[in-house]
Symmetry: C2
Subunit: 331 residues, 2 copies
Amino acid sequence: MANTTIYDVAGAAKVSLATVSRVMNNPEKVNPETREKVLKVIKDLGYRPNAIARGLASRKSTTVGIIMSDVSRAAGAQLLGGILDVAKKYEYAVKLFEMDEDSDKKEVMRQVVAEQVDGILFLNDELDPNEMGMVLNHISDAQIPVVLCNACYDEKDIPSVAIDYEEATYDITKELLQSGKKKIYLASTVHKYAINYKKIAGYTKAMKEAGLEPLVFRTSGDVSINTLHFQEFLKNNKVEAIIAVRDSIAVNFINVAFKQGFKVPDDIVVVGLQNTKYALLSRPTLTCVDTPVYDIGAVSMRLLTKFMTHEDVTDTKVLLPYKIVERESTK
Amino acid sequence: MANTTIYDVAGAAKVSLATVSRVMNNPEKVNPETREKVLKVIKDLGYRPNAIARGLASRKSTTVGIIMSDVSRAAGAQLLGGILDVAKKYEYAVKLFEMDEDSDKKEVMRQVVAEQVDGILFLNDELDPNEMGMVLNHISDAQIPVVLCNACYDEKDIPSVAIDYEEATYDITKELLQSGKKKIYLASTVHKYAINYKKIAGYTKAMKEAGLEPLVFRTSGDVSINTLHFQEFLKNNKVEAIIAVRDSIAVNFINVAFKQGFKVPDDIVVVGLQNTKYALLSRPTLTCVDTPVYDIGAVSMRLLTKFMTHEDVTDTKVLLPYKIVERESTK
DNA sequence: CTGAAAGCGCTTACAG
DNA sequence: CTGAAAGCGCTTACAG
């Protein structure tokens, strides 16, 4: 079955191809009778316009590009879920681009631009300010609307959607302080995520306000490396509470603590900052800041559609609400 | 900065646009000197051909479509990881399409075809045979190469990449039987995944060979629903071992068992059939069939590139090797 | 080895 | 309200 084209439709409906095109794009400009006739043929033939040809002619691909570092990480996948649902609703196709540490960032950006996306959702939060600046310059040179999705960059006024990570971490640190804990550690990652710096900032602020020394340490995302690391850590430090930038790190810590003879939450209190499924599958279950990851994806995609259709946008830096979910790991 | 086109390059290099095109697509047909000259201009101008225009003219979009049901599930995201890496290597762009229970499957297929993808990777394993047949017919009508990626459909001879789930489940059930267990349950899902039927088949075969009654029960993917379910289940059944189609279900079961006073592995032995990160973050850690999810994604994408470039393919039904990883949940 | 020209399947002013 | 025609930025026979 050769694909049906606009010519086939025009032929069968006995109109010009311009009319068929109008029926699809500006139906109000077509006489209702001919419109119905054409619509019927379209339906009978199962016609859908060739998206590539349409894209070339209209200079709009109705496609958005998602730039992310690692799909397989839980949070990234959930962001994608929200993005896809909204993209489908507004009839945008979605192209995926990976940009990790090893990528030639310039090359990736050139590719994204060459693919003619109408908008970009930037999910990579692992770039240093220099790289980030270069990437954003590339995008603005190409005049493509962009929204940072669960990523941040304060140097420029780029639209973004996230939660206030600094405040959230400040809040939960305060809660721990109020419950009487003093030796509160923050487990961050060795990688340089911009968001994690915000978390560190919020934690540090709360600790300093309480007259305490901030106790930040960095660990890997790898379970077996972390396990060794935590074993040593627990031997050498007195720990009353720990906040982890990722839930999986928190759960890993809980497991190591139990094996060393510590009880959570009786001896050590543990909290996560994401609220992924790991938090529910932990024993004890993990108290978390609940980051609405799906919503961040959905809202950022919606925001991007507004930019792409030149709607008025009043609020370009969206901070979604978050809450704290108390579970067993803090009793 | 207006995007540079092939005309700009041709003008700057003082050649025709046909020559520029040849330099990019058939460099061997161009005089080395002019080739170098053009290449230099391309580099200086940072030119990348408009992928849309190229796609229209060549009738190849160098884009593959990924059809999946839920990105945010762990296994799906990992498959995507493998797919993206290989796609990048072979310079294919990747478009993502969601097809879940509620989707109008025909409509999704029409969209995929309209988007002019050169090949399709089908990751959705939740369709019943009728729907699956319809989808595959749609694809073969459009004459687009397709590979089933971690999904199966036995009615037709469609290329696919997976592991032998039946054999794997048979193997691990045998191991449990040999260790002396008799009351071995298989926890499957309420959803109708084709792959899970294979797992059930392998399990059932092993049980019957041992002269035992297969004990399959179905549960949800939702943690709180499962928790209630498992609580009842443990009250009413004598369980010596449990095999779960998903790791998260296995971990959830372990947690409920401990809270009811059962010890894993002493009282009940538990195994998973995936080997995701959940297995490592469980306490005790989870013995698993290790399904090489990333590899399944990577190999299926590689296979698809062969079909797209009309290479000879001898083996269209690829079954990747798997192994069993013994961990604490089986002592 | 190189260029002029047609064509990919659409959209969109421009006439009428 | 409708059609003829140009054009989107490329590729690819076809001449030369």
